[in-house]
């Protein structure tokens, strides 16, 4: 998945694209670089300052110079401490600013992208791009820059100071540098590669744990404990080897760098010592050299790490920029912008010779024409994959026809603003999706400025009020306790605190509140008890009244009352008409109807299809 060639070159265009997100923080960014240069300068000067103290104060016996030294040294160190505090401030601003900006841009793009993008891309993948990838990019740009500026300045200034003080000795002290650079880059790369192997192995191990946990009943009934155990031990052994391989490289690398660094120090002591004996160098300058040579190599490992990280982060950067630059396949045309954004449509929809293909190869809908008068209900029936949802998706302009056109209130909908159609649209899914929050919040999602009274009215219309707020019960009906907190009750993540039937009723209430001119209903057959089933049917009848509706129908009652039934098979309409006519015709629809009728009856007898005792058993 994350196979990247670590030897790939730096893609400057890509990083330039990303640096645009740093633009609002340009001043902070410059301050950050300046501060790092300052810190590097102090770090480079410090050994020479100490060397000065050794020669001019200590060895020279000039105690009178001590206050001056203390003043200079103390001031410099205080400034250094302040600079360190400040670079965190600036760095935090830049990092988190970019972090915020890139993520916001990506999220905004996600709200525009058409569904074809979501068909191709999993939610998990997108989430990883917006969290870990964005974090990685902002981190490497900010703190990588910090390390880069500091390291480069520190090495440059130290080298200059050493060479200025004594160029021969300076050259000797720096002689180990090329070796160190090569070693560092090679090792950092190797470590990065091996750690990627280990990480991949680790996610396999987590997946194995997860399977063992979620599939524990299967393991037990199959008596597969031992086989599972040995398979797991095989995985954990591979993981162990991968981790050890990575750790071995680090175990060699860091000591090697320390050792190579000490080559410079030793050479300085040897040649510098000879100069001291020859009277060409003071002890203080020699010690400054040795200290400086010792520090000189510290940044080398940091720089090597930044370079390795940068290559790694480039893969993240490509994915994120790729996402931000994805073109939405459905956008407002040039004429659309002129149209008014928020008016009410009548809801007349006409398909004119519409063909459609998801992958531009295989047509899933061919030359489909249909006029839907405002306010009528169209029921779509047929097997999974027969093309029911394609018609719905096209009517909603979640996709656009590859051939032909679709007219809304007489105008090609590609010439209308997208917001106009969607603002007049209601959509109720088979698997009703609720957002975590209160019941009230979820209903209000249909119309954000709705009042409490309107929300309650919508809930009543959707037959949801009683189970939300509770009902006293009557002669023929038992009372309901209601949800704890009523409309303020939390629905949980994805609505998991509610039953499927309750979620369906709430999502119907949401659609009623939105009062759309066009409604799409993907009916559910799943798991509701007989009582709820009846309520849902009533609610559906209420919500369909007076608006153009497309129903992917599973319920007999809905089908019977539809103005037109389209029977779909393999991407075409095989039968079309009202219920009675189609039964009369005795074709495919009749067979489907009989199967469904039996199932409806059966469900009313057995209650839920999902065996609830299973959960606790």
């Amino acid at each position: 998945m994350e196979e990247i060639d670590t030897r790939q070159t730096l893609k400057l265009g890509l990083w330039r694209e990303l640096l645009k997100f740093a633009a609002p923080y340009k001043k902070d960014f410059i301050s950050l670089c300046a501060i790092m240069a300052f810190i590097a300068a102090v770090d480079a000067i410090q050994p020479f300052l100490t060397g000065w103290a050794v020669d001019r104060v200590a060895i020279a016996g000039r105690l009178d110079r001590l206050p001056l030294f203390i003043a200079v040294y103390g001031t410099l160190m205080a400034l250094q401490a302040y600079a360190i505090k400040r670079f965190h401030d600036f760095g935090g601003t830049v990092e988190m600013g970019m972090n915020y900006g890139i993520r916001a841009a990506a999220f905004e793009k996600l709200q525009q992208l058409s569904f074809s993008y979501y068909d191709r891309t999993s939610a998990g993948w997108i989430t990883a791009r917006l969290t870990s990838d964005v974090g990685k990019i902002a981190d490497i740009i900010t703190w990588g820059m910090v390390d880069l500026v500091w390291g480069a300045f520190m090495m440059l200034l130290s080298a200059v100071l050493m060479l200025l003080t004594d160029w021969r000795l300076g050259l000797i002290a720096l002689s180990a540098l090329p070796v160190l650079v090569v070693v560092s880059v090679l090792f950092e790369r190797g470590i990065l590669e091996r750690s990627r192997v280990a990480r991949r192995q680790n996610s396999k191990l987590t997946a194995a744990f997860s399977e063992n946990i979620r599939g524990v009943r299967a393991v037990k009934t199959l008596v597969a404990e031992e086989r599972q155990g040995s398979a797991f031990r095989g995985l954990s052994e591979t993981m162990r080897r991968a981790s050890v391989r990575q750790a071995m490289l680090s175990a060699v690398y860091l000591p090697l760098v320390v050792f190579l660094g000490s080559v410079g120090t030793s050479l300085s002591l040897w040649k510098g010592g000879e100069l001291v004996l020859a009277g060409g160098l003071s002890l203080g300058v020699l010690s400054a050299f040795i200290m400086s040579a010792g520090r000189f190599f510290d940044p080398a490992t940091d720089l090597a790490r930044v370079i390795a990280d940068l290559q790694y982060a480039q893969a993240s950067a490509e994915r994120v920029i790729g996402l931000i630059k994805t073109e939405s396949e459905i956008v407002d045309g040039p004429t659309a912008l002129a149209g008014s954004g928020r008016r009410r449509l009548r809801g007349e929809i006409e398909f004119e010779g519409v063909s459609f293909s998801y992958d531009k190869k295989r047509e899933v809908l061919t030359d489909f024409s249909l006029r839907v008068p405002a306010g009528s209900t169209i029921a779509l029936v047929g097997e999974t994959g027969s093309g029911k949802s394609t018609i719905v998706n096209l009517a909603c302009r979640f996709y656009e026809p590859t051939k032909g056109r679709i007219l809304v209130d007489g105008a090609d909908y590609r010439e209308l603003p997208l917001a106009l159609l969607h603002g007049n649209l209601g959509y109720v899914l088979q698997q009703p999706y609720l957002f975590s929050g209160s019941v009230r919040d979820n209903i209000r999602y249909g119309r954000l400025d709705a009042t409490e009274a309107e929300i309650e009215a919508a809930a009543r219309a959707a037959r949801a009020h009683d189970f939300i707020a509770g009902s006293p019960g009557g002669a023929d009906q038992p009372g309901l306790p209601g949800l704890e907190g009523g409309y303020a009750a939390q629905v949980g993540e994805g609505g998991l605190l509610l039953s499927t039937g309750q979620k369906q009723l709430i999502s119907l209430a949401r659609a009623i509140l939105a009062d759309p001119a066009v409604l799409v209903l993907d009916e559910a057959t799943s798991s509701v008890d007989t009582e709820t089933e009846r309520l849902v049917q009533d609610a559906i009848a209420a919500v369909l009244k007076g608006r153009t509706s497309f129903v992917v129908a599973h319920r007999l009652s809905t089908i019977q009352e539809a103005d037109l039934i389209l029977v779909m098979k393999d991407g075409r309409v095989v039968e079309k008409g009202r219920h009675a006519e189609l039964i009369e015709a005795g074709g495919y629809y009749r067979r489907l109807y009989q199967a469904q009728f039996a199932r409806d009856e059966e469900r009313s007898l057995f209650g839920s299809e999902v065996d609830e005792e299973d959960e606790s058993a």
């Binding site: 105690l63 999220f107 979640f398």
Partner: protein
């Protein structure tokens, strides 16, 4: 008795404890070697370059005198440089050993711990997984495990290194100049205290930032999963606003954390610089007054930096150790949960006679006697009560009942996934509690209603319960379960990967695979918990015919839980469960002759058995 977390860790370190001790010894030796170079410099500066009388420990002292004293060294200065390089080499060598040994030891210990946890999870009773969320368990076995791994592979040696550096440096300083030592360490406790308290305090800021990130991710995931709802209601701007709030909060909180770190590093640099300034200034004064040699002075300047560094690290390391202990405790909790064998009459793995291999086991159905069986999920609330049922060897019994009637619980009880509060189940006259669990489950194959498939190949899924199968055995299981046409429809055949990285199977295909993998075990009792529900009528009939027709003497006793009349009526007897009790029992004709659930179902499903075909994926269905 709950175990102590450290004891669990100690047990996981079996076999590598000595390696870990060796690694810690290397940490100390490396720390010691890293403190030698200031001594070499001091000697070179004082005795070679400045001509002071050399003070060297034996045998170096006499060796040097033999060579001609410090003047020999002055002529051969490379010897001093070489000594400096040698100390660094020793340091590098021990550092490498420490890294290698501790990686080996810690990875092996963590592997042991992982294996133990995985094995324990498989042996926990099925009820445990009802009380603990799968997500929580996965987290304990992945991220908590990783935290413990970092304790072993990093924090432990970090701590050892910091402590030995601290102690050794102070000892080293004290051995060369006591007054300078006293001047060079007063800030050390302050730096330690500051670092320790800072890291404790910052935990809260970390937590806030983590929670803000979790909230951000949560809103993002909701948006992505509900994107159709968002679009259908044209709520893009509302969503962008909602996301923006979380995004702002997360980046704001994280920035606050970075600013806190700025304070920490700023102040600790100030403290350390103050200490260094004092050492440099006082030392300079003492050198000027002739109380201190230049070499010793420079050695102290080197040491003061080295004593401060580990102390700054220590605060952080201690916090990490604290976090690791929390993770270790969470892992220990799982390991402490009693496994399903606890309280069994027969110890785990024990066997009462039947050979373990499928080929060698007696074939043919087993007789089942259920007497007064009662099961409750909650105290006092019976799911099953007073169940008496005798099933002859090779008989086929169908079970019909509404949701909550206890059908699945009965199936689970047959393989001891749940335990009765009263009554007993006997298999060929032996109480199933007197059999090993493995033996019982080898004999009784339960196919679950919603089967869990593992994301590996079809073949590996089937072989999970049996080990490698030959082509004939595989083909047989495929044929009886009607999985063969499914296998044939894939290019890779039996090697087709299932699940996340492979094809997604339909409900009916999943059920057939689950049936095939139980059949491959050749059980003596086959329990199908609504297993054929997603198959169409013909396939259902095909599978049942294949089951019955195959090898009359080898036919297993079969219990089929179903809703479909055509499935039910083919059984020898039908049991009707209502509210946890047997409401009726009899043959198809008998049940049809009296009013009850069975006849109502029959009426609905048209009686003639000519229920219209339901091909899957179901046309008007799920």
């Amino acid at each position: 008795m709950p175990s102590r977390p450290l004891h669990v860790l100690w047990k996981a370190m079996t076999g590598v404890r000595s390696v870990l001790v060796l690694a810690l010894a290397c940490v100390i030796l490396a720390a010691f070697a890293s403190l030698l170079d200031p001594l070499v410099l001091r000697f070179t500066l004082d005795s070679v370059l400045a001509g002071k009388a050399p003070e060297l420990p034996e045998p170096f002292g006499s060796a040097l005198s033999a060579l001609g004293g410090s003047s020999y060294l002055a002529r051969n200065l490379w010897l001093c440089a070489f000594a400096l390089l040698a100390t660094s080499l020793v340091n590098a060598l021990f550092s490498f050993l420490k890294g290698a040994l501790s990686a080996y030891a810690s990875e092996r210990a963590i592997k042991n711990l992982r294996d133990a946890l995985a094995a324990h999870i498989d042996s926990l009773p099925a009820s445990y997984f009802g009380s603990m969320s799968a997500g929580d368990l996965v987290q304990r076995s992945s991220s908590d495990m990783d935290t413990v791994r970092r304790l072993l592979s990093g924090h432990l040696e970090d701590m050892a290194r910091a402590l030995s550096l601290l102690v050794l440096t102070v000892v080293m300083m004290a051995s060369i100049d006591l007054p300078m030592t006293l001047i060079s360490i007063p800030v050390v406790p302050a730096v330690f205290a500051f670092s320790f308290f800072f890291y404790r305090k910052i935990q809260k800021a970390f937590k806030i930032s983590d929670e803000a990130e979790a909230a951000l991710t949560h809103v993002l995931e909701e948006n992505l999963h509900g994107i159709r709802v968002v679009r259908a209601f044209a709520r893009e701007d509302f969503e962008i606003e909602r996301f923006d709030q979380r995004n702002r909060r997360f980046t704001g909180e994280t920035r606050r954390l970075i600013v806190l770190f700025g304070w920490y590093w700023g102040i600790s640099v100030l403290l350390c610089a103050a200490q260094e300034s004092v050492t440099v200034a006082v030392g300079a004064g003492r050198v000027a007054s002739g109380l201190l040699s230049t070499g010793t002075y420079l050695a102290f300047i080197a040491y003061v930096g080295r004593v401060l560094w580990p102390v700054r690290q220590l605060g952080r390391t201690l916090t990490e150790v604290g976090k690791a202990m929390v993770s270790l405790r969470r892992i220990t909790e799982v390991l402490d949960a009693p496994d399903e064998y606890a309280g069994d009459r027969v110890p785990r793995g024990a066997h009462t006679g039947e050979p373990r291999t499928a080929e060698a086991r007696p074939r043919g159905g087993a007789r089942i006697e259920i007497k007064g069986l009662a099961i409750e999920h909650e105290r006092g609330k019976h799911v099953l009560e007073g169940i008496d049922l005798d099933i002859a060897a090779g008989e086929t019994v169908a079970v019909l009942g509404r949701t909550g009637s206890g059908k699945s619980t009965l199936a689970a009880a047959l393989v001891r996934l749940v335990e009765p509060v009263a009554g007993s189940i006997k298999l060929d006259g032996v109480d199933i509690r007197d059999m090993g669990r493995a033996e019982l489950r080898e004999a009784v194959g339960l196919v679950l209603q919603e089967p869990y498939l593992f994301s590996r190949s079809l073949r590996e899924n089937v072989e999970l319960g049996t080990g490698p199968l030959n082509a004939a055995e595989l083909e047989w299981a495929g044929r009886i379960s009607d999985l063969s046409p499914v296998v044939a429809s894939f290019e890779a055949g039996w090697n087709t990967a299932v699940g996340e990285e492979g094809v997604t199977l339909s409900g009916g295909q999943r059920q057939r695979l689950a049936l095939a993998r139980i059949l491959a075990k050749r059980p003596r009792v086959l329990v199908l918990d609504d297993t054929l529900s997603a198959l169409d009528t013909e396939t259902d009939a095909l599978v049942r015919r294949a089951l019955l027709g195959e090898d009359p003497e080898g036919r297993p006793t079969t219990i089929i839980i179903a809703h479909r009349i055509t499935t039910l009526m083919a059984a020898d007897r039908i049991v009707v469960l209502e509210s946890g009790r047997i409401a009726d029992i009899g043959t198809h004709e008998e049940l049809l002759s009296r009013p009850g659930l069975y006849r109502r179902v029959w009426d609905i499903q048209d009686g003639s058995g000519a229920t219209p075909p339901r091909r899957e994926p179901a046309g008007l269905g799920e």
